[in-house]
């Protein structure tokens, strides 16, 4: 046995004043009484035993000295060498994924897992160390290796429930890094076992798995996405999938709401383990928050609702300067968002927020503002006109550009196009085999310009579905990102967003209000980096609609200061998480033996202090109690 603080032994000198006080104390206080005849009756009735009478004061002194010595020894912090050798290093991986929110364990699987974790922490020996790692959404170390019980318990209690995916495998890898190959170490996983790879973990020697929850049926929305219709600029398509992760057939209803208006109600009949998937076409120019919900009460509520955001489509003013061209006029008239004005001469000025389409009519200078040039018939300040291109075959296409989304020109017959030589930089969206641009974009300080060199009167481009899509993409590009759909994210995902009103550089960057990411249904916002135009945010750990909004008046303001500048829908959308039936490997797990480390879970000084106080009580009862009672 060794002492961690041997200097504390000097406190044993306190025995000297105790002995001095003892000597002073045995000189009894003289109390005058009028007579002792009554006292004599008492003490003659019960004569004290002589040995006890003589030793009792000495015994009191010895007990007091022993009390002091125990305290002094405790302050010296004694320890056995085997305590250090036998100290364990444990890592507690707590699965806080969405499936752990199931209520088949009371109140939830996560709370049941935390209870096991608390028992484990309470059973730690003095020199044991334990770390806590979250195993859901984003594996991270919740609490580093520590032996402090209260710290560990608080970290475990503060571990939040998330709607994210199970990532126990990565969490175990992180836990193994914490262990660092040390002997007498172990990873303890608290999970519901509803994920693939549990069998592999269960076979590992350094991993012990504790399963919570039981086989539970669940019905959930596993996919919910919305996108713009390829044909209808005001239309949108909804992709829905509902899965029955249970052993019994289920009948329920799926209700779709756009804000407060019911869009559709779909009755569902799902076979055990079955899935229902469908795409619905709807139209809306006003946009709003699209919500899907199923009316089925089950153990997991996170997948009973799903959200998608449908932005409002603003009308777009378009001035078409062209000779009569049926295809071009009709493709624009067919777009309900377009407010079309057809002119027969190229205007010198373009009204504000108006897209000018120049079909063959090319002024000497392209007017400022957004301009879409189709089949230019003459040169301008932006290009020089060359010889016509005969039968250009598109071999290069920028598939990453929004302008080319769902557009394929490589199989379109284009008998004639113009050969252009741009005076400045132009981004080629589609190029011919001769490296001549067929479709290009120019970013001017005074406005964007698109140039399509194809002769629409020849070839079948106006007859292909790519043409209206190309036109729609072009108009959307001119109008900016406003009104674009943003896909609903799955929990646990990260995304890159443009931060509106948060320019990257310049004086405006310092004046831009600080933005925060607000979780669904309130809660503490998360600050976003200031001064950035783009930011990667996530992972999202809650289902619902997240919003990016200016910060409130305080750091922990309960509400944003202004309207959201950007909203992001986030759904569970995870078949594995919706399936609350543990894997066979999890069900085969034998209930774990007790994790307690035996009786000596405290340091030696703890027991010494307890013994000292027991001695103090034993000394107080016969000797001191009468003084204070």
């Amino acid at each position: 046995m060794s002492l961690a603080a041997p200097a504390a032994l000097f406190l044993a000198l306190l025995a000297i004043p105790i002995i001095v006080f003892y000597i002073l104390k045995i000189r009894l206080r003289r109390v005058p009484v009028s007579t002792v005849i009554f006292w004599q009756q008492i003490f003659e009735e019960k004569q004290p035993r002589s040995i006890w009478q003589h030793l009792r004061h000495l015994l009191s002194l010895l007990v007091q000295l022993l009390f002091l010595m125990l305290l002094v020894f405790a302050l010296g912090q004694p320890f056995f060498n085997w305590e250090i050798l036998a100290a364990r290093r444990l890592v507690l991986v707590v699965d806080n994924s969405a499936s752990m929110n199931a209520t088949d364990a009371v109140p939830t699987r996560l709370d049941a897992a935390k209870k096991i974790g608390r028992d484990l922490i309470s059973g730690l020996r003095f020199r044991d160390e334990l770390a806590i790692v979250a195993g859901g959404t984003e594996p991270h170390v919740v609490c580093g290796l520590s032996g402090h019980e209260r710290t560990l318990l608080k970290a475990l209690d503060d571990l939040p429930a998330t709607d994210g995916p199970t990532r126990v495998g990565e969490a175990v890898a992180l836990a193994r890094n914490l262990i660092g190959g040390r002997s007498n170490a172990q990873v303890i996983v608290l999970t519901d076992g509803c994920f693939e790879g549990l069998e592999h973990l269960a076979r590992a020697a350094d991993v012990r798995i504790h399963s919570v929850g039981r086989r539970t049926n669940n019905v959930g929305i596993t996919r919910f996405q919305v996108r713009r219709s390829l044909l209808d600029p005001t239309g949108y398509q909804i992709l829905m999938e509902v899965a029955n992760a249970g052993d019994d057939p289920v009948e329920c209803r799926l209700e779709l709401d756009l804000d407060d208006d019911v869009v559709d109600v779909v009755p569902l009949k799902l076979e055990p383990g079955g899935r229902w998937s469908q795409t619905l076409d709807k139209t809306s120019t006003s946009g709003g928050r699209l919500t899907a919900r199923i009316d089925h009460a089950d153990a997991l509520s996170a997948d009973n609702r799903a959200w998608a955001l449908l932005p409002k489509r603003e009308p777009l003013k378009v001035v078409l300067a062209t000779e009569p061209n049926l295809f071009l006029e009709k493709v624009l008239e067919a777009n309900p968002l377009v407010q079309l004005q057809v002119v027969r001469e190229a205007p010198q000025q373009v009204p504000a927020e108006t897209v000018l389409i120049l079909h063959r009519m090319i002024p000497e200078r392209i007017p400022p503002g957004p301009v879409f040039v189709i089949d230019p018939a003459a040169a301008s300040d932006l290009w020089e006109l060359g010889e016509p291109l005969e039968n250009p075959i598109v071999t290069k296409q920028d598939r990453d550009s929004l302008l080319m989304t769902h557009v394929r020109l490589d199989n379109v017959v284009m008998p004639q196009a113009k050969k252009l030589t741009f005076s400045g930089h132009a981004h080629v969206l589609a190029g011919a085999v001769s490296n001549d641009p067929v479709y290009a974009s120019i970013e001017r300080p005074s406005g964007k310009v698109l140039v399509l060199t194809v002769n629409l009167d020849q070839g079948d481009l106006p007859l292909r579905t790519a043409f209206p899509i190309l036109m729609t993409n072009a108009l959307a590009w001119f109008s900016g990102a406003a009104g674009e759909l943003r896909e609903a994210l799955a929990t646990g995902a990260v995304t890159e967003v443009a931060l509106p009103g948060n320019p990257a550089t310049g004086a405006a960057a310092t004046q831009a209000p600080a933005l925060q990411l607000w979780p669904p249904g309130g809660g503490s916002p998360r600050p976003l980096p200031a001064g950035l135009a783009q930011a990667v945010i996530g992972p999202f750990d809650q289902c619902g609609v997240w919003s990016i909004a200016p910060a409130g008046s305080g750091v922990k303001s309960p509400a944003p200061a202004g309207a959201p500048t950007l909203e992001i829908a986030c759904n569970l959308g995870n078949r594995e998480e919706s399936d609350l039936r543990p894997t066979e490997a999890a069900l085969a797990l034998v209930p774990a033996e007790t994790l307690a480390a035996g009786w000596m879970t405290r340091p030696i000084w703890y027991y010494l202090v307890i013994l000292a106080w027991v001695l103090a009580g034993l000394e107080w009862y016969p000797y001191q109690r009468r003084w204070i009672s």
């Binding site: 045995i26 009894l28 206080r29 003289r30 109390v31 005058p32 009484v33 009028s34 007579t35 002792v36 005849i37 009554f38 006292w39 004599q40 009756q41 008492i42 003490f43 009735e45 004290p48 004061h57 009468r626 003084w627 009672s629």
Partner: protein
Amino acid sequence: MALFDSEFLKQLEYLSLVSRRVFRGSLLAQKRTMQLGGGIEFADHREYTPGDDFRYLDWNLYARHEALMLKRFQEEEDLHVYFLLDCSRSMAFGSPSKFDLARQVTAALAYIALADLDRIAVVAFSSDIVADFPLTRGKARILSLLRFLENLPAQGTQTDLSRVVTGFVHRNQRRGLAIVVSDLFDPAGFDRGLDMLRHRRYEPHVVQLHDRTEADPKLLGDIELFDVETEAARKVTVTERNLRRYKKIFDEYQAAVRKYCRNYGVGCTQTSTEVPFDDLILKMMRTAGAVV
């Protein structure tokens, strides 16, 4: 402050006024003796015998029945009241001390007796008779009595009531009331002394005093008990159980005194020193019906 000040004398006067023949009333269970003599209250007749005083012949009766009958009258006799005052050192215990209250009670009762034209005497004792205030009569003697009491110290080594009474009853004096003012902390017991008074045809009355700390001592722990009377010391450990036992013994002792007095028709007054002397006297008189 002096033991007997002017305020005390005023209180004595008040008590004497409100009293109504205390010592001849039922306070001390004293029955008036039928001694016939030259009083004014007619008692009965008896036949004339030669040598009787002609002045007491009932001439009206002789004229009516021709029988010489002598009228007899109840003789008025002054009462002798003896105060046996305990002045042992145990009486000096307490705050206020039992001895102070004992002297005040003695003075008050003596004043009432003197006011009623009775004779009083005070016998101070501890282990033996230590001082005497001789038999006296008349209210004018009260100041002498007060001076005697005031100069009386608490003394003596151990109370011995039996020995004191033995000396007292062998004096050549008339019988009367014997008021014992004491704490009765007599190691030999209080009953032998009182028995002797009764057997010698005195009318004993007990005024037993005790201090609050004697009835309910606040002692705990290892202490050395010091008997102020015998100056004996004893090291003891007083526990709560011992305290409970002490109180029981003390209460039993008090009850024994009351039982003795009740059995033998002896007047008994037990009081704590916390009770002022005038309240105590009034209480005694109310108990006796001597005051309204």
